[in-house]
Subunit: 155 residues, 4 copies
Amino acid sequence: MPYQQRIEGIPFRVRRVVKWGETDPAGIVYTARFLDYGMETLEAWFAEVVGVHWQPFNVDMKMGSPVVHASLDFFAPLAGYESFTLTLSLEHIGRSAYTTLIDAHKDDGTHCFQIKIVASIVDKSEGMKSVAIPAEFRDRMEAYQNACRTAAVGD
Amino acid sequence: MPYQQRIEGIPFRVRRVVKWGETDPAGIVYTARFLDYGMETLEAWFAEVVGVHWQPFNVDMKMGSPVVHASLDFFAPLAGYESFTLTLSLEHIGRSAYTTLIDAHKDDGTHCFQIKIVASIVDKSEGMKSVAIPAEFRDRMEAYQNACRTAAVGD
Amino acid sequence: MPYQQRIEGIPFRVRRVVKWGETDPAGIVYTARFLDYGMETLEAWFAEVVGVHWQPFNVDMKMGSPVVHASLDFFAPLAGYESFTLTLSLEHIGRSAYTTLIDAHKDDGTHCFQIKIVASIVDKSEGMKSVAIPAEFRDRMEAYQNACRTAAVGD
Amino acid sequence: MPYQQRIEGIPFRVRRVVKWGETDPAGIVYTARFLDYGMETLEAWFAEVVGVHWQPFNVDMKMGSPVVHASLDFFAPLAGYESFTLTLSLEHIGRSAYTTLIDAHKDDGTHCFQIKIVASIVDKSEGMKSVAIPAEFRDRMEAYQNACRTAAVGD
């Protein structure tokens, strides 16, 4: 059983099982945990696709990618031990900010929730000032967008 | 030091201290924790103002108040041990849904973040069907809205 | 990259990656998160080996497996994005209680932490009274113990 | 309603309300959350009694207080919205390590759980090496121990 596992290929998808400790007395995932699901997906995508994990990005490179906006829409509840798949699409790449959409579906196709996260790139040596996305990261982001478009056409 | 404490009076305000475990290697509150801040404020307001805590509301009354939408805007980071105040306003009362705005400010007036939460009222004995907000709860919600308006005028 | 994945075979092992949100300003996993690691491993083992997930065990079967004691020993810190493997051994099977040991190692063999969890089986229809471990569960627990001994001999 | 508030006086006590998001489908606090309760109490005590919060202690002073051992004993469950009081006693002060006991009681006197936490003092500029507790911190720890003994005699 894949508790939390990258599904090979494009787009970036992660299979996830709802843990007991993530559910509340109503027997479903507690609302605040969904932003954890969104953030852990963004983190894994950033490490693999953009190419650096937030730990060295922050601690060694003295940069960061703070979230400036997040919105969550809930369509169907998830209970303990249910499986679902999170898919990340890169909706927009700006100068400093980029926008991702994370959609969660059950195996039967039910759309459970959608999370939009807008994050920017900052230089911590300049006091958290937002800076242009470095060229090598931008290139990888654009390549991901293109690969997703190609994959979608091929479906 | 009030780690998390209701400030007397209208509007509904809670003082909060950032815990060490809520901060990340960047030294600031981890993004996903902010929805916890929003939800714990909504929970405390619901218990006091609407008049019933989610635990008996769900378990004994077989009702619930699932969140259908949440959005978060981040304006300034918060570090460990910083204090801030959360203020809840009730922006809209619909048939089944209601919209709250939760604003967080530091003591120096800095606006740190704003969270909008839209929740609805459901009857769990009818399979999570959304129902009209029961009259006694609606009355208390409207009284809260009116009291906030009066308090604002009095400022 | 396996964020959290069962490694096939005996003993029960799960590969895990440290998430950014699990680390603190010291850049290492926050102490309280380790009990989450222990519990999520116990939950996954219980579902697979004992044969029922806590969700139906609690909600449908009206039973439960509350923890009565847990102890944690920390040997080496874990930083963000580090991988480690959790191994669960079943140390003791009593009348109602059972004791598990969960050991975490990095890929280079470093022993990071050990968690001991003692849980019991209760019947919730009889007011959380501890009851004898049902025969079918006991059989599976004993089979797991035996399989671990055989695997160890075969090493 | 004091969601989480220091009770004036000696010993160090904090009143706490169980949050909805801390409870699981069994309707009681999820096991892993108890170590959060223990750690947040230790953190608040350390800031007030030892005299420095972990944030400046780690980030500015380049020191730290990692936990080397924790054990938890559970005596009675806690449900959502229940209140309880956490009391911290300083059981032992060693050269580098110190041992605290955190006991939780409901208002009716029920002993819910006890957490023992052993932490040490490290110098991060010397690679997380454990060092003697600095004299000013040791003095405050001993003063706290003495004040607790005096308060107990006075009961």
